[in-house]
């Protein structure tokens, strides 16, 4: 009758981070590229899929690096790098079925990548040319959310809609639909996120909570958000939680796919903690030297998500140096394309700031727009007259 929380999860595969504490998580690929096969998460992927993962990771990293550089060159106001989190995002993104709908944070460039959003559309927000960038319905992907945790409630509501549409548990793989709700370790402290857990649990919603634990909320380490592993939060709300090696694309893929399947079958929510590391700054405005413990970055570099896949591809002869060179070339081309796309993002017209405040006419917006138009043209007249 009493539930004494122990700070340790059940036994399982381990990795030892710098703290020396053993971490239990689902792992399919060790940092050395060795393949593991935990019984709960059977995964058979063909060579093309494996190579696809590799390509995703490399191109995504290049996109991210390029965007960071673009910020340095003044082309973007800000960038939130995902360096180190590629496997977590690609693993989750590739697990989605086309009809699934995902709610990203503002660092989810891997998800936009998987969902076919054009890099320029992603950069528009960070360039200050847009507050969004794409049509969510086209990509089944909501816009980046900036107010931490708010999108997790939207995901719960969206999942309520799926239920009401009868798109859960029909057995029809093209119809059954799940929602992927992404957020960070810091977000788990927000009221909204916990309220979303309540809704998901009570209504048994087809939603997968995908938490990328990148060890930090800006400067604050995990311990400021929870004293036990985050995946255990779910048990307090009555649904399963699982921790996965977030630097292992195969494991993330397998675990997320499994959870999405459960959701689509009508078996309710799952919480996934993808245990990973933000190797870069929080954003380009951040200075991690102020708070990052020495040696930590180096430790995590040993666990790089791309390196282990390279090892595995070599080991299994699924990829060779020629293939890697091919992808590298593709990455270079992507870099060029991203740079050009970024520079050619048009500035919005000033008057467009009055568009889409409402769907239907609103007298105050209309009055302000009219005033602005007259005011603008007074300059033009003045300019023309000069």
């Amino acid at each position: 009758m009493s539930d004494l929380a122990s700070p340790r999860g059940p036994a399982g595969p381990r990795s030892v981070p710098p703290g020396g504490e053993a971490i239990d998580f689902v792992q399919l690929l060790t940092p050395d590229g060795a393949r593991k096969r935990p019984a709960e998460y059977p995964l058979d992927v063909d060579a093309d899929t494996l190579r696809g993962f590799y390509r995703d990771l490399v191109l995504l990293r290049r996109f991210d690096t390029e965007a960071t550089a673009l910020q340095r060159h003044g082309e973007l106001g800000l960038w939130a790098p995902l360096l180190g989190q590629e496997a977590a995002q690609i693993g989750a993104g590739r697990a989605l079925a086309p009809q699934d709908f995902a709610f990203p944070t503002f660092r989810e460039h891997g998800l936009t990548w998987c969902r076919g959003v054009d890099p320029a559309q992603v950069l528009a927000l960070f360039r200050g040319a847009s507050l969004g960038g794409w049509d969510p319905a086209v990509h089944n992907l909501h816009l980046y959310s900036i107010v931490i945790g708010t999108q997790v409630l939207h995901a719960a509501g969206y999942a309520m809609g799926i239920q009401r549409d009868g798109h859960v548990g029909t057995g029809d793989p093209a119809r059954d639909t799940a929602v992927l709700a992404c957020f960070g370790d810091g977000a788990t402290s927000q009221g909204d996120v916990n309220e979303a857990f309540v809704f998901a649990s009570v209504f048994n919603l087809p939603v997968v909570f995908f938490c990328q634990n990148n060890q930090f909320a800006i400067s604050e380490p995990n311990q400021r958000q929870s004293r036990i592993p985050l995946y255990r939060r779910a048990s307090g709300f009555g649904f399963p939680g699982v921790r996965v090696d977030g630097n292992d694309v195969l494991a993330v893929y397998a675990v997320t796919r499994d959870a999405l399947d459960r959701a689509r079958r009508g078996e309710g929510p799952t919480f996934i903690e993808a245990y990973t590391y933000r190797m870069g700054a929080h954003t380009t405005s951040d200075d991690p030297s102020r708070y990052r413990p020495t040696g930590e970055l180096e430790h995590w570099q040993q666990l790089d998500p791309i390196d282990r896949l390279v090892e595995y591809l070599l080991l299994t002869q699924t990829g060779d140096e020629r293939y890697f060179a091919e992808i590298a070339a593709e990455a270079d081309a992507l870099g060029v394309r991203v740079r050009e796309a970024c520079r050619s993002i048009p500035n919005p017209l000033p008057e467009s700031m009055f568009d889409h405040v409402h769907v239907e006419p609103h007298a105050q917006v209309d009055a302000d727009r009219a005033w602005f138009r007259a005011y603008q043209s007074s300059f033009e007249t003045a300019g023309g007259a000069a």
């Binding site: 847009s130 507050l131 969004g132 794409w134 049509d135 969510p136 319905a137 909501h142 816009l143 107010v147 708010t150 997790v152 409630l153 939207h154 995901a155 719960a156 509501g157 969206y158 999942a159 309520m160 809609g161 799926i162 239920q163 009401r164 549409d165 009221g191 909204d192 309220e195 979303a196 309540v198 809704f199 009570v202 568009d355 889409h356 405040v357 409402h358 769907v359 239907e360 006419p361 609103h362 007298a363 105050q364 917006v365």
Partner: protein, 341 residues
């Protein structure tokens, strides 16, 4: 051009009928019609199901439309509004009930940063036709947090429509118009008028959702009021008439947008304006109206626009609320003052 939200309503006209209903029943009937005519309309909130809401505005809906469409939610206002946004993204039209005015603040972030800004953020790609119903205002002898008037917070927020009804007729139609609107609408219901009866014409609305209405014509001054204070303003006008003073009363109905032309037209004739509301005067709707009408009618106004509103205190214990709330006497005192210029 039709006003916002009223274009879908005309279709579902019932056989010609006029009924006498309380405001609560008029709302209930309005919700029912909206749910009947559009299967995407949902009702959600705390105790809206079996209980029918603490004011019984959703009475019987759960029974008739089932708990997939009338949803008793967990006790979490941010959750209610946040989930409604998600439902709207999936194509539904949720009508959220916030149990009392004072319990809307936990949802504030979802309202002002999400609901208000989603259409804008998505450059028009996403519509969030969510209606948030809020029983508001004082005068019912309630404990703290059950008598507040938070409408100015929302009217200051771009991206939200804010409306409030003063009669059963408007309640019945405005709720349908609000639901039909593709924009988010904050729908404020004057809770102390829930039990007031009035005739409801089931055939047609009185006005578009964003229009004010002159509810009494007069000559010497205009009183602008809304929600619970419309009756107070009308009562004051009646008393004043006995004293030979002819007062025009405008029911604002929409607080965002504000129907400035109707106000200007009235003030251009009467040349004097008093604004009445329960909310704190400081930065209440009266401030905006005074600023705007003074600018529009600077040479017509014989007196400054005067405001009768809540004092700059939290809503006090109910045993003194009659002293706190604007009443006929305070409205007349302001009328006297404005006429003395």
């Amino acid at each position: 051009m039709s006003g916002p939200g009223d274009h879908q309503v005309a279709d579902s006209i019932e056989p010609a009928d006029v009924q006498t209903l309380t405001m609560a029943r008029a709302l209930n009937a309005g919700l029912r019609r909206a749910m009947e005519s559009d299967p995407t309309v949902l009702v959600m909130g705390e105790d809206v199901g079996a209980l029918g809401g603490v004011f019984r505005v959703t009475d019987g809906l759960a029974k008739d439309f089932g708990d997939e469409r009338v949803i008793d939610t967990p006790l979490a206002e941010s959750g209610i509004v946040g989930a409604a946004i998600g439902l709207a993204m999936r194509g539904y039209r949720p009508v959220c009930e916030i149990q009392f005015d004072g319990f809307i603040y936990p949802a504030f972030d979802q309202l002002v940063s999400q609901l208000a800004k989603m259409h804008y953020r998505t450059a028009g790609a996403v519509r969030v036709p969510v209606v948030v119903r809020v029983p508001y205002g004082g005068g019912i002898g309630a404990v703290e947090h059950h008598s507040e008037s938070p409408e100015a917070y929302f009217a200051h927020t771009a991206g939200l429509r804010v409306v409030t009804c003063a009669t059963p007729q408007d309640a019945h139609w405005m709720i349908q118009q609000a639901i039909a609107s593709d924009d988010p609408v904050m729908f404020f219901e004057p809770k102390r008028r829930y039990w007031d009866k009035g005739s409801v014409d089931l055939r047609a609305a009185s006005a578009p959702l964003d229009r004010a209405r002159v509810v009494r014509s007069g000559e010497r001054l205009t009183i602008a009021a809304y929600g619970p204070m419309v009756r107070t303003a009308l009562d004051a006008a009646t008393v004043a008439e006995h004293e030979g003073i002819s007062i025009e009363v405008v029911d604002l109905r929409s607080l965002s947008p504000l129907d400035v032309p109707t106000l200007v037209a009235s003030v251009e004739r009467t040349r004097r304006l008093v604004v009445v509301h329960e909310a704190q005067t400081f930065l209440g709707m009266g401030a905006e109206i005074a600023a705007r009408i003074t600018e529009a009618c600077f040479y017509q106004l014989e007196a400054p626009v005067l405001r009768v509103g809540g004092f700059h205190t939290p809503y006090p214990a109910s045993r003194v609320e009659e002293d706190y709330l604007p009443d006929v006497d305070r409205v007349l005192e302001a009328a006297d003052r404005v006429l003395a210029y």
